[in-house]
């Protein structure tokens, strides 16, 4: 993969800033307690949270890349997949079968969406397609809860939850987060292999590059859309299982979509590595800022800080880290 030098410079500058600023604040302010091992611990914790954001952001990127749709229903898909998974599990179905069945359900959802919603709206403006995914979100939220109920359900997938200590107890890392990061890494690797080395994957990339050209060489666009929404559904399933394992499966899972938005701006809407790197930067950035800069203003800055970071960043690089360069012609 070719990476522009300016991208690396930008990332480097952000890393330096994110380290130097807390250090400086720690020197001048009494409210802020700065120590290198603790800083490292916060940064690592943030990076691991960032992976969890990336998981959600990936679903957005996949669909946007292949069909230009900003899929507002991604959060609802996460909830729907997690509800179906845990619902089946509570019926006594073994875990592996739950996964396969839920994957089947998500494929059905993808096919239904393509047939009933996307096909009649081919070639509409992006904002219309965005709005229509909101309709999909309402339907999925209602349907999932009507079938499976709105009660919170516990989901224990057997990952260890205890903290681990490193460097004589100076640095603490949560094992669940580490495993989650590993699973996310495996998922990304699988996606990369799928995109690079399979026929369908190549077709997907072709569609992403140019709809018209892809159609003219005989790639069936509608088939591709089904595939891409299915893959996004599977990503939603994995995200739903990981987040559900953390928070319990409940309606609030649909709200994690908001956490993915700053990741998308930073990483660019069309880049899978962008979603990963963007997630890492947002995760680490918001934790470091909340812990080391938050005390100056009374805390709770985590939410908007990610967006501010993205905003400042966008002013210098309007297409995101890995977004395609915007070339405009009259």
């Amino acid at each position: 993969m070719h990476v522009e030098r300016s991208v690396l410079t930008t990332i480097g500058a952000m890393l330096v800033l994110m380290t130097a600023l807390p250090w400086f604040v720690g020197q001048v302010s009494e409210d802020v307690f700065f120590e290198w091992p603790f800083f490292l611990e916060v940064a690592i914790g943030g990076l691991l949270s960032g992976v969890m954001y990336s998981l959600v952001a990936l679903g957005f990127v996949l669909i946007f890349k292949a069909s230009g749709v900003f899929n507002f229903a991604q959060g609802a898909m996460v909830l729907f997949a997690a509800l179906s998974f845990v619902g089946l599990k509570d019926l006594g179905v073994p875990l592996w079968l739950c996964f396969i069945l839920t994957a089947g359900i998500m494929t059905l959802v993808a096919m239904t969406i393509e047939r009933l919603v996307l096909r009649p709206l081919v070639n509409q403006e992006p904002i219309i397609l965005f709005m229509v995914t909101i309709g999909i979100a309402y339907v999925l939220d209602g349907l999932g809860q009507m079938i499976w109920g709105s009660e919170v359900r516990m989901l224990d997938i057997g990952l260890p939850q205890d903290p681990s200590f490193f460097f004589d107890g100076k640095i603490l890392i949560n094992q669940f987060d580490m495993f989650a990061a590993l699973i996310a890494g495996a998922l990304v690797a699988a996606l990369v292999i799928f995109f690079q080395y399979t026929k369908t994957g190549r077709a997907l990339r072709a569609v992403a590059d140019d709809h018209q050209a892809a159609m003219s060489v005989g790639i069936p666009l509608q088939h591709i859309w089904v595939v891409v929404w299915t893959v996004a559904g599977l990503v939603a399933l994995v995200a739903g299982i990981m987040w559900g394992g953390k928070l319990g499966v409940q309606f609030s899972l649909a709200l994690i979509a908001l956490k993915a938005l700053p990741v998308l701006i930073l990483g660019g809407f069309t880049s899978i590595p962008g979603a990963i790197i963007g997630g890492l930067i947002v995760g680490a950035g918001e934790k470091v800022s909340e812990v080391f800069l938050g005390p100056l203003v009374g805390g709770g800055i985590e939410d908007w800080f990610a967006y501010m970071l993205a905003l400042v960043f966008l002013v210098f690089r309007p297409q995101g880290l890995f977004g395609e360069k915007i070339i405009e012609r009259v």
């Binding site: 611990e41 809860q145 919170v152 603490l172 953390k246 928070l247 309606f251 709770g300």
Partner: protein, 437 residues
């Protein structure tokens, strides 16, 4: 612009619908609940408890004092807009309108403050809403028995002090407050600050932005940096389970972690699994289904397939008993109003008047099969609060175990704070406090 006629037509249709004929001699009870939305897990058992108690009165006693009851639920999804709509839709139903409103959300409570005053309908907030509404001279139509957030904060500090062996040992201790960054979560801050001045502990504040899915940085600060002697939590919904899990993730001891009643539901600790064992929460009602009232509910409702909850296991859960308790307060207030005005459906104004001299004493509680489930409540024209007792419970992995007796908050200090805050509100709103003599 004129297509708004479309809207008008729609709305007109709505109007026709809402004026459906109701039984003339039944007492209407409207219940605004949330069985859907982000906070549904905690809202469902509450709504079940409320509905089951009202239905029990209908099935077992044929209503209140012989007047049949008619219960209607309206789903707010914990959304203020929807809550206001629910209130306006329900308020004129039945032959006498809604006798009282229980919004079950601090946000909706605030949105209804002016409306209930204009409509003369008492607003009951059990353990949420405006704490300073305890001052009945400024808030004639608002009642907040059995407990307030401020009282809860005081009880929590009393309990923590007893853990350290007395209030004098609080000096120099570090106490952290983790709170939902909204009107609800901010309520205890002033009380905790006042107590910090009194007792000399150091208070640190940790706001968690709504909805609270991510709290890693908060807990890194608490568990790895500040290491407070105790953590108090005012959270709601998914925030609670997340906080407990993150506390476990940074190895913060759960038995030094105490939450307000809205963080003490089974639905908050079960998703956290083993991590929640040892976590404590305040309750203003007892937990469990061992009370005579529960046996009646099982007998009259669940054995006849008339229960509201999906399974009888819900009966006796923390949130269920809280909803039940609210139903007890409302129905007893209606009964008190009927005792004054005669056994016919009563209006909101009559219920408000009855609430001004409301006395739910131990004897009455025993007759209702509620002995030990809740403490007696006595209200007056100026005191709309009536007690504020709470007890501490601890999660043992299966149930909430009561670990203290009922603790009474420092009424004297709180009363002064209520009156000060209510006076400020009265001044801003141009309200002349009514005389209670």
């Amino acid at each position: 612009m004129k297509l708004t006629t479309f809207a008008l037509g729609l709305a007109a249709a709505t109007l026709l619908g809402s004026s459906a004929v109701q039984a003339a001699d039944a007492q209407f009870i409207g219940s605004t609940v949330y069985r859907t939305g982000p906070y549904a897990p905690g809202g469902i058992p509450w709504a079940d408890g409320f509905a089951d108690y009202v239905n029990l009165l209908s099935e077992r006693d044929g209503g209140i004092n012989g007047v049949p009851l008619e219960l209607e639920e309206c789903d707010t999804a914990y959304n203020t807009d929807k809550g206001v709509e629910c209130y306006e839709r329900l308020k004129d139903k039945g032959s006498t309108g809604m006798p009282a409103v229980m919004p079950l959300s601090t946000g909706i409570t605030y949105a209804l403050l002016d409306r209930v005053k204009a409509d003369k309908i008492p607003l009951l907030t059990a353990g949420y809403g405006r704490a300073d509404a305890a001052d009945g001279t400024v808030f004639p139509y608002i009642f907040n028995p059995p407990a307030t957030y401020w009282g809860g904060a005081d009880v929590a500090i009393q309990y923590i002090a007893s853990e350290f062996g007395g209030t004098e040992n609080l000096k120099g201790k570090k106490i952290a407050l983790v709170y939902h960054d909204s009107a609800y979560g901010k309520e205890p801050i002033n009380t905790l600050k006042a107590l910090a001045e009194q007792h000399g502990y150091k208070l640190s504040l940790f706001p968690v932005p709504h909805p609270g899915l991510e709290q890693k940085s908060t807990w890194l600060k608490i568990g790895r940096q500040l290491r407070p002697d105790y953590v108090i939590m005012y959270g709601w919904g998914v925030m609670n389970a997340t906080a407990i899990k993150e506390a476990a993730a940074v190895n913060y001891p759960r038995d030094k972690f105490i939450g307000i009643w809205w963080t003490g539901n089974e639905q908050d600790v079960i998703p956290a699994g083993k991590a929640a064992i040892g976590y404590k929460a305040l309750q203003f009602n007892a937990i469990g289904a061992d009370f005579p009232v529960h046996q009646d509910i099982i007998k009259y409702l669940y054995e006849n397939g008339k229960g509201s909850a999906k399974s009888p296991d819900i009966v006796g859960q923390a949130a269920y008993n809280r909803g039940l308790q609210q139903a007890v307060i409302v129905t007893e207030a209606i009964r008190a109003a009927m005792n004054i005005y005669g056994n016919a459906p009563v209006t909101g104004e009559q219920v408000a008047h009855a609430l001004d001299s409301f006395d739910l004493n131990a004897e009455r509680l025993k007759a209702l099969g509620l002995e030990g489930l809740m403490e007696p409540i006595k209200l007056s024209c100026s005191d709309h609060q009536g007690g504020g007792h709470a007890q501490v419970t601890q999660w043992d992995g299966k149930t909430w175990q009561s670990i203290t007796d009922w603790i009474t908050p420092n009424e004297e200090m709180l009363r002064a704070m209520y009156e000060e805050s209510a006076a400020a509100y009265a001044k801003e709103q141009g309200i002349t406090p009514r005389s209670c003599d």
